[in-house]
Symmetry: C2
């Protein structure tokens, strides 16, 4: 049995660079870098100078065929994760795909189906925020029924400010062809995953999405979504990249209480002594008026506040270690690769609802979505030519 | 010229009783009670015993024809405000209608049109929350452009908890025939008015409305709305009567800052030193990362927090005094009667969107709405018969 996982890092942009640093600085248990891959000659120059002992490949097939890696992570443009993931799994190489697992569900389903045919391999998705103790705690509270059945979710996550200069960094950024979307595909996939991880997938969504609202981009920078969970519960999800005073507030109402998460730092848990439906049936209107008119609210609920420290970086290390742990000794995965579909399905449904101007059911029709996405890509190409 | 306005109070339920108390205890400047009206013999008994010097009428026409009142307030079921309002104005009696001004826009438009033919009379609507210094301050901040052009509004107002016993108090409550709706018609009209008073009317709305979701009622107890302001700005409005841990959080994002109102008690104002669009165009991605990665955010904005005390009761007195002031010396009205249409138009559009299952434009088709409402009333009657 291998002692340490030899990881191939495919794509040396910002995230690939971060993972390289974490691993080469010895911060990640049980992983060594087995090889690098990037198509950019400047990256080759920089990496071979800095890491002369680690092989560098200009294309991922060579890396996968080299025999130097037991596993890979795909820090490449979103469209490429499924293709590279399948190529790796085909060669019996464990695979960690960056989020989002792909741009459209059709390609992510193909990846998942292929991975299912290789159950002996480790297949994971880089949802680092799932390792955040704060969100783990929220999930635990919900799973344990601490606030009962969910009636409403409400997440305003506009703390994704990006200036125009961010979008102008490269040609492919914030384009349909290059990224397949904006804030839904690039920034908010974490929250889309956490939301469904914690509260489950909605059955229907309706969205109002603004494309190039406050930025000179083709894709979306402002998103409002209504989620219908199919059991009476409703949700709202709001995200944007133009709010420099970004809000990050996640509220979950259950029939036994409420959880409010502020700025990914603080959880306020309000636990009702009795289920709300019971209170509704037993309390008189006069009781209520007395209570809400300055009465002692501790008669009906208790409040707990939990504070958490920001742990950026540690999360990424935790995902890498968890991936290696699953390979080496079967440690349970925090984010199995097959889970990547949910966030993509949500993002696709949100886009599709806005394109069709109506509520859409999940799962959406993958072919309709792909046809609409391809239309956007064609329009974008025509617009570029006209420029 | 009259020294004090002789007010007729039509309807002696909870609000009529409150106004009677305020006025008879001398808390309301420039108003005396000229007459009472209620159809309930028990009310006649109680009021004539307690206020033997004030005439009591069993129907409003007698009160209006008595010569004993210069003005009236209509604390009656919502459907009746327009009819009684017109009857009063016809007799040159100043009119203050309770909120909502009516159940459907068609009847409120009729009232407004009639009032317009009597410009010499004072016509007002009882939006007491407009006298709340907190909301006046928010309006002033927006009107003065302190946070620039609005990009997003978000109001979660679920602090309207009502137990089943509240709904079971009387036959007409929470029925289509008796009230014409639930939380949108009975509890949330204040916020619907404040929202449009502060941020303007939307051009379109899409809603998900739950009827009898957590209560045994025919009308709505859970509402989620997406507002499209037609200029790129979007809003979300959420209200419910089943959240005993009610949230009241109103956030407005502008291109120069943000306002957050918590629990109708605290305003947090964040003012950007430069408009967001300018920051987007001048700041580099590296600058931003430095700033958001623990930098000094006071470089980009300043924060002010204003705390307010709860002022229930005072608000109602303020509206009554403002109404009398307009009659006596032309004091500007806080809530001119014609303003009553906006909240009703919003509530109607929200209902209609949920009934049709699609986004609707404002102003909505009044006849379509009324036909749908009458269908609900008929269904309700059939259901009652079947019981």
């Amino acid at each position: 049995m291998m002692e340490k996982v030899r990881l191939g890092i495919i794509g040396l942009g910002a995230q690939g660079g971060n993972y390289t640093r974490f691993i080469s600085e010895g911060k990640v248990k049980n992983i060594v870098i087995g090889g690098f891959c990037d198509t950019d000659p400047d990256k080759r120059k920089a990496y071979t100078e800095k890491y002369p002992d680690i092989p560098f490949y200009d294309n991922y097939t060579d890396l996968l065929n080299s025999g130097n890696v037991d596993a890979i992570v795909t820090t490449v443009p979103h469209y490429l994760h499924p293709k590279i993931g399948i190529a790796a799994l085909e060669r019996n190489i464990h695979t960690l795909v960056e989020k989002p697992a792909g741009v459209y569900t059709k390609q992510v389903n193909e990846l998942n189906a292929f991975a299912e045919s290789k159950p002996e391999l480790t297949f994971a998705v880089f949802f680092n925020q799932r390792t955040n103790p704060l969100y783990q705690k929220v999930k635990e509270l919900i799973d344990d029924g601490e606030i009962g059945d969910i009636r409403r979710t409400n997440w305003i996550i506009t703390a994704w400010w990006r200036p125009q200069g961010y979008y102008d960094q490269s040609e492919w950024r914030a384009t349909w062809e290059g990224e397949g979307g904006g804030v839904l595909v690039n920034q908010a996939p974490h929250q889309l995953d956490l939301l469904q991880w914690i509260a489950g997938m909605p059955k229907k969504v309706y969205s109002v999405v603004k494309y190039g609202y406050q930025r000179d981009i083709a894709v979306e920078d402002d998103v409002t979504v209504v989620l219908d969970y199919g059991n009476g519960a409703t949700g709202v999800f709001i995200t944007a990249t133009h709010d420099v005073l970004g809000t990050n507030r996640f509220e979950i109402l259950g029939d036994k209480g409420k959880i409010i998460v502020d700025d990914s730092k603080k959880i306020t848990i309000k636990r009702l002594h009795n289920p709300e439906s019971e209170m509704s049936n037993t309390m008189s209107w006069a009781d209520i008026k007395k209570l809400t008119g300055g009465g002692d609210m501790s008669q009906i609920y208790s409040e707990e506040v939990l504070e958490f420290k920001s742990v950026w970086g540690k999360q990424h290390i935790a995902i890498l270690e968890n991936f290696a742990g699953n390979i080496l000794d079967g440690t349970e995965l925090v984010a199995p690769g097959s889970d990547g579909i949910h966030g993509v399905a949500l993002a696709n449904a949100i886009h599709l609802s806005s394109w069709l101007g109506k509520e859409v059911e999940l799962p959406i029709d993958e072919d309709v979505f792909l046809a609409e996405l391809n239309k956007k890509i064609q329009e974008e190409k025509r617009a570029l030519v006209e420029k």
